[in-house]
């Protein structure tokens, strides 16, 4: 997928430069996104991976401009060439729904419980496209059919609670697609769903994105979800992109110790039972009081003195210009997602939580 990126368009749909998002809270300023830059071309999917508190969800909301009142954003977000960061609410409303939409994590909470499905779908049609009631209804029916909902006419009259989780997520996708947006933000679209349903929804998202040549940002905590479905993958840690590369490139050679450690800490189906996992010690830093230097340094096995004082910038791999990472001492070994990275036989060792100090 990565080799034909220039075929789609010469100009990116989305250009994000040095995006910084901060929230004011009672504890102090929360540095949720700390200088993120990337381009996204037409018809391509960027997978954003991170743990909770990595800023991955805030990133997609910051780009889209769906921010609460206590947030401030700086930097630049250009959508199809025009600057949309801190544009007026009126301008943003003409983008939202029509040019960019979002699919939320939990379809249970993201659909209005007291409004019928029909109203929730046709709402944006009426808002952005001059449509008669009958036209809007027909469009909604067609949308529901296209996202694989049986008996769409009956579903239109129902309320969200009368449907299963998978059905609700399909409806949310239909709502997001209603006005034919060019850019879709999918914020953990399957985290609240069961595995078998997750697969259905991911397939649906992917086919919709291909059919409509949309660009998509797929945010998730699960490397597995993005591995086969994103063109590029960005790994976030403490509000920054620490590594970004085309999917196959990244999995062929992870350079950032965090990416590697994250990969290693996941139990994999291929591993024999009782394979000891490589846990990352400690926990992610507090976004209010970030450590000096590299924010992963306190948990990093490769950390040296330089890491504690100097925050590394994103730099490209020598051989692959599209593979960037922010690390002073990147790893070189090839990590394989295969069984037996570290197997049985190690003496039982109690994982100590260094964030609390003291000794075990």
């Amino acid at each position: 997928m990565s080799e034909n990126q220039t075929d789609h368009a010469n100009q990116p749909v989305l250009e994000v430069r040095d995006l910084v998002t901060q929230f004011s809270s009672e504890r102090g300023t929360v540095n949720a996104v700390r200088g993120v830059s990337f381009d996204l071309y037409r018809g391509r999917t960027l997978g954003v991976v991170g743990e909770s508190g990595s800023g991955k969800s805030v990133l997609s909301r910051s780009v889209m401009g769906l921010m609460p009142g206590n947030a401030t954003r700086t930097g630049s977000v250009r959508f199809e060439g025009s600057e949309v960061l801190n544009a007026s609410p009126k301008v943003m409303r003409s983008y939202w729904g029509q040019k960019m939409s979002m699919v939320f994590q939990d379809p249970m909470t993201a659909l209005n419980p007291v409004l019928r499905i029909e109203r929730q779908i046709t709402e944006s049609l009426h808002e952005h496209i001059d449509m008669s009631k009958a036209q809007a209804k027909d469009t909604a029916l067609a949308l529901l059919t296209s996202v694989g909902i049986p008996e769409p006419a009956r579903r239109m009259r129902q309320y969200p609670h009368e449907m299963s989780g998978g059905m609700r997520q399909r409806i949310m996708i239909a709502i997001a697609l209603a006005c034919g947006p060019r850019m879709l933000f999918a914020d953990e679209p399957t985290t609240a769903l069961d595995v078998t349903v997750q697969a259905q929804i991911l397939d649906l998202l992917q086919s919709m994105q291909r059919d409509r040549e949309m660009s998509m940002i797929l945010v998730t905590h699960d490397l597995g979800v993005v591995a086969g479905r994103a063109d590029d993958i960005a790994v976030m840690y403490a509000g920054r992109i620490v590594e970004k590369a085309p999917a196959e490139r990244l999995f062929a050679g992870m350079r950032h110790p965090y990416t590697q450690a994250l990969m290693r800490s996941i139990p994999k189906l291929e591993m024999p039972s009782h394979t000891r996992l490589d846990a990352i010690a400690g926990r992610p830093p507090d976004l209010v009081n970030l450590p000096e230097g590299c924010s992963f340094a306190p948990r990093c096995p490769n950390a040296q003195e330089k890491c504690l004082v100097d925050d590394p910038a994103l730099t490209a791999d020598d051989d692959h210009a599209d593979h960037v990472f922010a690390c002073h001492f990147p790893v070189n070994e090839v990590v394989v997602a295969a069984p037996g990275i570290r197997v049985d036989g190690q003496p039982p060792r109690i994982a100590h939580d260094p964030s609390l100090g003291g000794s075990a």
């Binding site: 597995g224 591995a227 086969g228 139990p267 060792r349 994982a351 964030s355």
Partner: protein, 345 residues
């Protein structure tokens, strides 16, 4: 799937825990009932970890709670160390509960926000007045150290000052301090981040080795269950589908549901294109009116009349591999695309 039978149970004398024909039903209003767990039989040998896996609504957590008698099941027996817990009175049950413990999914909700860590961990000791004074403090400190927390720092703190992973460590300390024989772990890592999940899984393994624990490990993540279990039981809509050694069961799933579940898991490998795999259509039916016969038949590509009329019985297909299916997959066989296309129509 979704069958009955006890072929997978080991000889009665060997098991520490033996659950037979467990049924749990809840009233659902207007005279209806939720068939949360239907005729499930399970056992666990001393020192064994039994993984109970399935999607939401399959009754795995309800089974775990029924084993703990929280609340007692509608019918069936839960024999723990020779005693049937379902027949015990309140005070006898309290006595037995010291030997049975539980770890919960939500690390925040399972710790009392108004109590300090030392009081939470010492709860079991306090209730049974096993030790007191300095001995108690020493024991609590020792336990905190064992789960990887620094007693001097954490002792006086309250749960809200900890992260999810740390709360789960406290929960483990609380459960293990009374030296129980059996621990029911109800989705203990589901609420945690990947990197923390690995810490807790390792810790559980260590605790098991150190204290010779028997565990019932409940989770929806197949890879997690495989990692920690000695034996895995797959549940669907209140019934068991398949039981076996994890390495065998994952390599050669015999039940179409297990196979579909395994193939639906996203693999962290970009060379495996997900669209080439087979996904299951539809969603889990309501447990208020479950399908007749095999409960998986409404989504199963292989379902036919017999699946509608007869509940499949657990049968042995390999050394330690049992399946409850009228048309199990042969070793190496997978549910084909043709079959799946038929099922979703």
């Amino acid at each position: 799937m979704a069958g009955i039978g006890k072929a997978h149970l080991r000889p009665e004398g060997e098991a520490l825990l033996r659950v037979e024909d467990l049924v749990v039903e809840f009233p659902a209003g207007r005279g209806r009932k939720v068939n949360a767990v239907t005729e499930v039989s399970l056992d666990a040998l001393p020192g064994e970890t039994l993984g109970l896996v399935g999607e939401s609504g399959c009754g795995k957590s309800t089974t775990g709670k029924a084993i703990m008698q929280l609340p007692s099941p509608t019918s069936g027996t839960v024999v723990f160390d020779g005693t049937d817990l379902t027949g015990l009175g309140e005070s006898q049950l309290r006595e037995v509960r010291t030997r049975l413990q539980m770890i919960f999914q939500d690390p925040i909700s399972s710790l009392n926000p108004r109590r300090r860590v030392e009081a939470i961990v010492a709860e079991g000791l306090d209730i049974w007045k096993r030790v007191s004074g300095d001995d108690k403090t020493a024991k609590v400190d020792d336990m905190l150290l064992t789960v990887g927390l620094d007693p001097a720092v954490v002792r006086g703190r309250r749960p809200h000052q900890f992260s999810g992973g740390q709360c789960q460590r406290i929960s483990i300390a609380r459960a293990v301090i009374t030296e129980p024989q059996l621990i029911v772990c109800d989705e203990p890592v589901s609420a945690l981040d990947v990197s923390v999940q690995a810490q807790i899984l390792n810790l559980l393994e260590d605790m098991k080795a150190r204290y010779g624990l028997t565990m019932i490990f409940i989770a929806h993540d197949l890879a997690v269950v495989k990692n920690i279990s000695d034996r895995v039981a797959v549940m669907y809509l209140g019934r068991l589908c398949e039981v076996g050694d994890p390495d065998v069961l994952y390599a050669r799933p015999a039940h179409p549901y297990t196979a579909a579940l395994l193939s639906a898991i996203p693999v962290p490998d970009p060379t495996v294109r997900p669209e080439t795999r087979h996904t299951l259509g539809g969603e889990i039916p309501s447990p208020i009116s479950p399908p007749s016969g095999c409960r998986f038949r409404t989504r199963c590509p292989r379902a036919d009349d017999i699946c509608r009329d007869e509940v499949p019985v657990m049968t042995q297909i390999d050394d330690d591999h049992f399946v409850a299916c009228h048309h199990p997959l042969a070793p190496g066989e997978s549910v084909t695309e043709v079959e799946l296309a038929g099922a979703s129509a």
